[in-house]
Amino acid sequence: MLLRKILMNKFLSAFIVCFAFMTLWAQASGAAASPGNTVVVDAGHGGYDAGIVYNSPDGMQTNEKDADLRIARAVISTLRAAGTEAFATRPVDRYMDISQRARAAQAKSPGLFLSVHLSSTGAFNIYVTSLPQDQTDPGQFYLYSNRQRPYIGESRDFASALEQSIKQAFPNVSVLYTEIPLPLLDMIGAPAVMLECPSPAYLNYRDPAVAGRIAQAVAGAVRAYEK
C-alpha cells in the first residue's frame, strides 16, 4: 500500500515536472518563431544598378540605390532601438541579384521581410506578390511561389498595417496598394512586402529627417502588425 503510494507520488511528480518543462519549451520556441521577431530589410538596386535616377532643378542627382540604402539603414536602426532584431540584405552599395537577396533574407529566418524601393510617382506604393492560379503548374518552379503561398494572408495584414502607419505619418501623400507578381517576394518564406517611397521629385532624400520619418512609420507598422 505504502509502496503504491510512493510510486504514485513519483509518477505524479515526474508528470508535473515533464509537463512544466514541455510547456516552458513550447513557449520559448513559440516566441522565437513568432512573426515580426526578426525583420529583414532589403534596400533595392545597388552597385552599377542605380535604379531611378533623378536630376533635380538645382543640378543635384539622386540615385534610387542610395535613397533605398538610406531608408533601409534608418528602418534597421529604428527597429533595433525598439528592441527588434533587424538585418539588411544589402548593408553597403553593391549589386545583388534577386536570388542573392532572397538567400540573404532566408538565412536570417525572418519573421517579416520588407523590400525598400522608390516609386516613379509622388505616392507611396505598397506591394504584395500575386500568386499563380494553377498550383500544379510546373511553371511555379520559376517563381518559388510555394515559399510565399502560406504567408500571403499575413503579408496582406502587414501591408495593411504599413498603409495605415504611412497614412498617419504622411497625411498629404497618397498611399496605393497593389498586387503584382514580384519574384523576390515569391521567394521569401515569411510575410513579405515591398514599399516604394515617393520619387525624389517629391521627397528630398538628401535630408536625413525624411528617411527617419519613413523609418518611424515602418517601425509603427511592425508594432501594429505584431499586436
Binding site: 533595392g44 538596386h45 544598378d49 535604379g51 531611378i52 535616377v53 541579384d97 534577386i98 536570388s99 524601393h117 522608390l118 516609386s119 516613379s120 510617382t121 506604393n125 506591394y127 504584395v128 500575386s130 500568386l131 499563380p132 492560379q133 503548374d137 511553371g139 520559376y142 517563381l143 496582406r156 495584414d157 501591408a159 495593411s160 498603409e163 497618397s174 498611399v175 496605393l176 496598394y177 497593389t178 498586387e179 503584382i180 507578381p181 514580384l182 519574384p183 523576390l184 515591398m194 516604394e196
Partner: protein, 213 residues
C-alpha cells in the same frame, strides 16, 4: 383701309421670307451635322484600312500608360506573311511607344536584334542592351512593360507557347531590378484573380489605391 391691307401684305411677305430663310438654315444645319456624324461612324478601323491598303497588316499593340495597359491599333507594311514577320513587326511597333506620348515607359533607343521560335514553341525576342540600360521606372512600370510586350505578341502572333527575352543574345536576370527576365514571361506575369477589389485590379496592372483589407 387701303393702308391696313398693304400693311398685312408686307407683314405676310416678311413672315414668308423669314420662314423660308429659317427652313434653309435648319436644313443646312441638319445636313452638315448629319454628315459629320456619318463621317465619325464611317471612320475605319485599322483592320479595315489594312484590308483596303493592299500589302499592309493590322496589329494590336499594348502600351504601358500611367499604370494601365492601353491598346492601340497600328497598320504596318509590308504585308505580314509568316509568324516571324508578325513577331518582328509587333516588337518594332511596341518599341516605338504609344502615339503622342512625351514620356513613354518604353526604354528609348532599344533595337530589335532578332526573333526566333524555339523547338517547343517558345518565342525568343532578342533586344539591344538599351532596353535594360535605359529603363527608368518602378515595379509596376517594369511589370507593365513586360506584360505589354507579352500581350502584344500573343495578340498578333499565332501559336506562341510563351515568350522569352534576350538582351544582346543572352539571358539576363532582370530589366529593372523588380521582375525576372530570365524566365518565360507568361509564367511570370499571368497570375490568379485575387480576392479584394484593389487586388483584382492590380493583377491586371491597375492600381486604384484600395487597401488590402
Amino acid at each position: 383701309m387701303k393702308n391696313d391691307k398693304r400693311g398685312r401684305k408686307v407683314f405676310f411677305t416678311v413672315a414668308l421670307v423669314l420662314l423660308f430663310a429659317g427652313g434653309l438654315t435648319a436644313g443646312y444645319l441638319y445636313l452638315s451635322l448629319g454628315t459629320g456624324l456619318q463621317r465619325e461612324q464611317e471612320k475605319p478601323s485599322a483592320a479595315q484600312v489594312a484590308q483596303e491598303v493592299q500589302g499592309s497588316s493590322p496589329l494590336k499593340i499594348y502600351y504601358p500608360v500611367n499604370g494601365y495597359l492601353q491598346m492601340e491599333e497600328r497598320v504596318v507594311t509590308p504585308m505580314i506573311l509568316t509568324r516571324e514577320d508578325a513577331a518582328r513587326a509587333t516588337v518594332q511597333e511596341f518599341l516605338k511607344g504609344p502615339a503622342g506620348m512625351l514620356d513613354p515607359s518604353i526604354p528609348p533607343d532599344t533595337r530589335l536584334l532578332g526573333t526566333y521560335f524555339g523547338a517547343d514553341g517558345e518565342l525568343f525576342i532578342d533586344l539591344s542592351d538599351a532596353f535594360r540600360r535605359n529603363f527608368q521606372g518602378d515595379a509596376l512600370t517594369e511589370y507593365l512593360l513586360l506584360r505589354g510586350l507579352y500581350e502584344s505578341l500573343l495578340s498578333n502572333v499565332s501559336g506562341i507557347k510563351d515568350v522569352r527575352l534576350l538582351i544582346d543574345g543572352n539571358e539576363i536576370e532582370t530589366i529593372g531590378g523588380h521582375m525576372l527576365a530570365n524566365v518565360p514571361l507568361g509564367r511570370e506575369l499571368i497570375t490568379n484573380s485575387p480576392q479584394s477589389t484593389g487586388v483584382s485590379n492590380a493583377a491586371n496592372g491597375i492600381s486604384n489605391g484600395t487597401g488590402p483589407e
